[in-house]
């Protein structure tokens, strides 16, 4: 019915003023595209960190020495602020919730073998370690429980070590010297990549913790004890239980604070995300500014066309357009422009994100919510500033609108 005529009028007006339409849409396009690219980069970074945390293993609980509160280091009786193998053995013996557990003894060592030598952190772990970290071998095998109990001198090499010492090929079956002690290579680990902090996880040699303790002792510390449960739901119970066992093992009185820290996977993720939070905020701020600039652009063009439009509105009203007709026309114009501009902006945003990913190697993630947000804001600005002058003019007497300079 009559609305149909108004749609016709609006479309005609858009087509008639190609330059104004283009400039208005440009503001929306830039605003939408900028926000999408910026936030896509931020979300991409988050996702990458999440993936790295996931690589640590599933249903993981990590014990680290020292209280979690940095200012509150507790030096009470019996407190050592260290983890010991006794802690590991107590946990292994008493915990009911943990399905797997492994200490991590780190012994920095000089490795000789293959085509040269290398400095590496030898990690003494239990046979559970591979399960906890979901870390399989790409060739050979992990050491087994017999070897662990017998303190056999067997080693599983990380890919970086293999790359450096055995560039020619599979080293399984060969021998390497760790601090002058010969170890047999029984397996090679799958490549795991970098940690959230950028450390190379493949620059490592795994050996039974029993062997490391006896053969490579000396400068040795236990930075972590790793445990995992069968299901995510068990984690809180396991954490509580571990806490009790460790407090007991450390001989802490009830008023003493923990001298160790327990963290599950999501807490680890939070810690790691903390750093990217800043970046995400920064990107969001830039995106917000882009949106604002885009919005101001839209606003300017809309306001500049007000003079012309006010006269136009005067003419339309003089020949019988009601205020409502004028407003509907302008609303349709604004919506159509915002929608087309928004769609082009989304396309440009996807293109820009893809290009950035290709050029910089950063991961980008575009979620539907992001698209909706960017579209929503720009459309709101476009519609508001397109509609606002019309509203103002439609409230005038026709003759006033006609006289408008």
């Amino acid at each position: 019915m009559k609305t149909l005529l108004l749609v016709r009028i609006a479309v005609r007006s858009i087509l008639k003023n190609k330059m104004r339409t283009l400039l208005t849409m440009l503001g929306i396009i830039i605003g939408v595209a900028a926000v999408i690219v910026m936030v896509a980069v931020g979300q991409g970074a988050r996702l990458q960190i999440q993936q790295r945390i996931d690589k640590l293993g599933s249903n993981l609980v990590v014990v680290t020495p020292g209280a979690s509160r940095s200012g509150g280091v507790n030096m009470g009786a019996g407190s050592s602020n260290r983890l010991t193998l006794d802690d590991y053995e107590a946990l292994k013996r008493e915990s009911m919730w943990l399905s797997s557990i492994s200490p991590m003894i780190v012994a920095p060592a000089h490795v000789v073998g293959g085509s040269g030598n290398w400095r590496v952190a030898v990690m003494g772990v239990s046979t559970d370690y591979s399960r906890i970290r979901s870390w399989n071998v790409s060739s050979g095998r992990h050491f087994d429980e017999t070897e662990e109990r017998a303190m056999r001198k067997v080693a599983v090499l990380g890919q970086t070590v293999v790359d450096n010492l055995f560039p020619e090929g599979d080293p399984v079956g060969q021998t390497i010297q760790l601090r002058d002690v010969p170890f047999e290579i029984v397996g090679v680990l799958e490549r795991k990549g970098q940690t959230a902090e950028g450390r190379d996880m493949d620059d490592v040699i795994l050996a039974p913790w029993t062997t490391v303790r006896t053969r490579l002792a000396g400068r040795m510390y236990i930075p972590q004890i790793l445990g995992s449960t069968d299901s995510k739901a068990d984690i809180p119970a396991a954490q509580q239980e571990m806490k009790a066992i460790l407090r007991e093992s450390h001989g802490l009185a009830s008023y003493d604070e923990d001298d160790f820290t327990l963290k599950n996977q999501s807490e680890l993720a939070e810690t790691a995300q903390g750093a990217t939070e800043v970046m995400t905020m920064l990107l969001a701020a830039i995106a917000g500014i882009s949106l604002l600039v885009g919005g101001i652009g839209i606003m300017n063009i809309m306001l500049v066309s007000v003079t012309e439009r006010t006269r136009e509105i005067g003419i339309r009203m003089a020949i019988g357009a009601r205020g409502r007709d004028v407003m509907v026309q302008f609303l349709i114009e604004s919506i159509v422009m915002s929608l087309i501009g928004g769609a082009l902006g989304v396309a440009a945003g996807f293109g820009g994100a893809a290009l950035l990913e290709k050029l910089s190697g950063w991961g980008t993630v575009i979620t539907p919510q992001l698209v909706a947000l960017a579209l929503g804001f720009s459309a709101t600005v476009g519609i508001f500033f397109g509609f606002y002058p019309a509203r103002k003019a439609a409230a005038l007497d026709p003759i006033q609108a006609l006289r408008h300079e």
Binding site: R316, M317, A318, G320, G323, P398, I399
Partner: protein, 248 residues
């Protein structure tokens, strides 16, 4: 006879206030226009002719006074009702044309139809074309105002005022930009419309144009100075026929 007054105004005033100064453009005007009349409004520049026309055309509201259109009070009507009156009952030709720029003559003339229910029922382009033809502009339908002469723009404006076939035609200096021949053509058109029953009010400075009307009203400083019938009335069509053909 009072029933036949298409337009009746009493004590109409209009005061423009700009900042601290107030200009009294109309200072109490009484006027009745009967159906079928053709009224010429004269007066010096600034005497309030356009102000009066705008009020009669429901484009502006009076500061005080009453206005009856077809016996119905229109001062105090809502904005939408006034818009409807402007759309369907009054055709208005502005002193400055007021055509939409960058819009073809045909689209300009079609415009009133787009805001009326009638526009849904008729072939709008055909109706608009008909109106343009009646003012002799059938060969300029696709031209935009900037591509038309002043006289041609004037005629587009007239066609737009006529396209809704209003009972009242208000024209503010419709021949102000035209040479004498084109002026006569416009007046012949008006007289023809008037003969078909359209009530016409037009503003003019020229006496021979005013003589084409049936009655002349002269304004001075917002008052009606003179209001008298025209005798004898000039027949624009006959005068036109007496003029030598252009290019002949």
């Amino acid at each position: 006879m009072a029933h036949e007054a298409v337009i009746r105004i009493e004590g109409l005033t209009r005061t423009y206030t700009t900042g601290s100064t107030a200009v009294q453009a109309l200072r109490g005007v009484d006027l009745q226009v009967m159906r079928g009349e053709m009224l010429a409004i004269m007066g010096a520049s600034g005497s309030g002719k356009s102000t009066l026309m705008n009020l009669l055309g429901c484009l502006d509201s009076p500061t005080s006074g009453n206005y009856w259109l077809d016996g119905v009070r229109v001062d105090g009507l809502g904005r939408n009702q006034l818009a409807e009156i402007r759309n369907t009952r009054i055709g208005f030709v502005f002193q400055g044309f007021n055509l939409l720029s960058r819009t073809s003559a045909l689209d300009n003339v079609e415009l009133p139809l787009l805001y009326s229910h009638r526009g849904l029922k008729v072939d709008r382009r055909q109706v608009a074309l008909e109106a343009l033809r009646s003012v002799g502009l059938a060969d300029r339908v696709d031209h935009e105002p900037s591509e038309l002469s002043g006289g041609q723009q004037q005629r587009v404006a007239i066609a737009r005022a006529l396209v809704m076939q209003p009972a009242i035609l208000l024209a503010d200096e419709p021949t102000g930009n035209l040479d004498s021949r084109t002026s006569l053509e416009v007046m012949a058109l008006f007289q023809d419309l008037n003969a078909k029953g359209v009530t016409i009010l037009l503003v003019t400075h020229e006496h021979d144009i005013a003589e084409c009307a049936t009655r002349v009203v002269e304004l001075r400083d917002g008052h009606i100075l003179r209001d008298e019938p025209v005798t004898p009335r000039r027949d624009a069509a006959r005068q036109l026929a007496l003029l030598p053909e252009i290019g002949a």
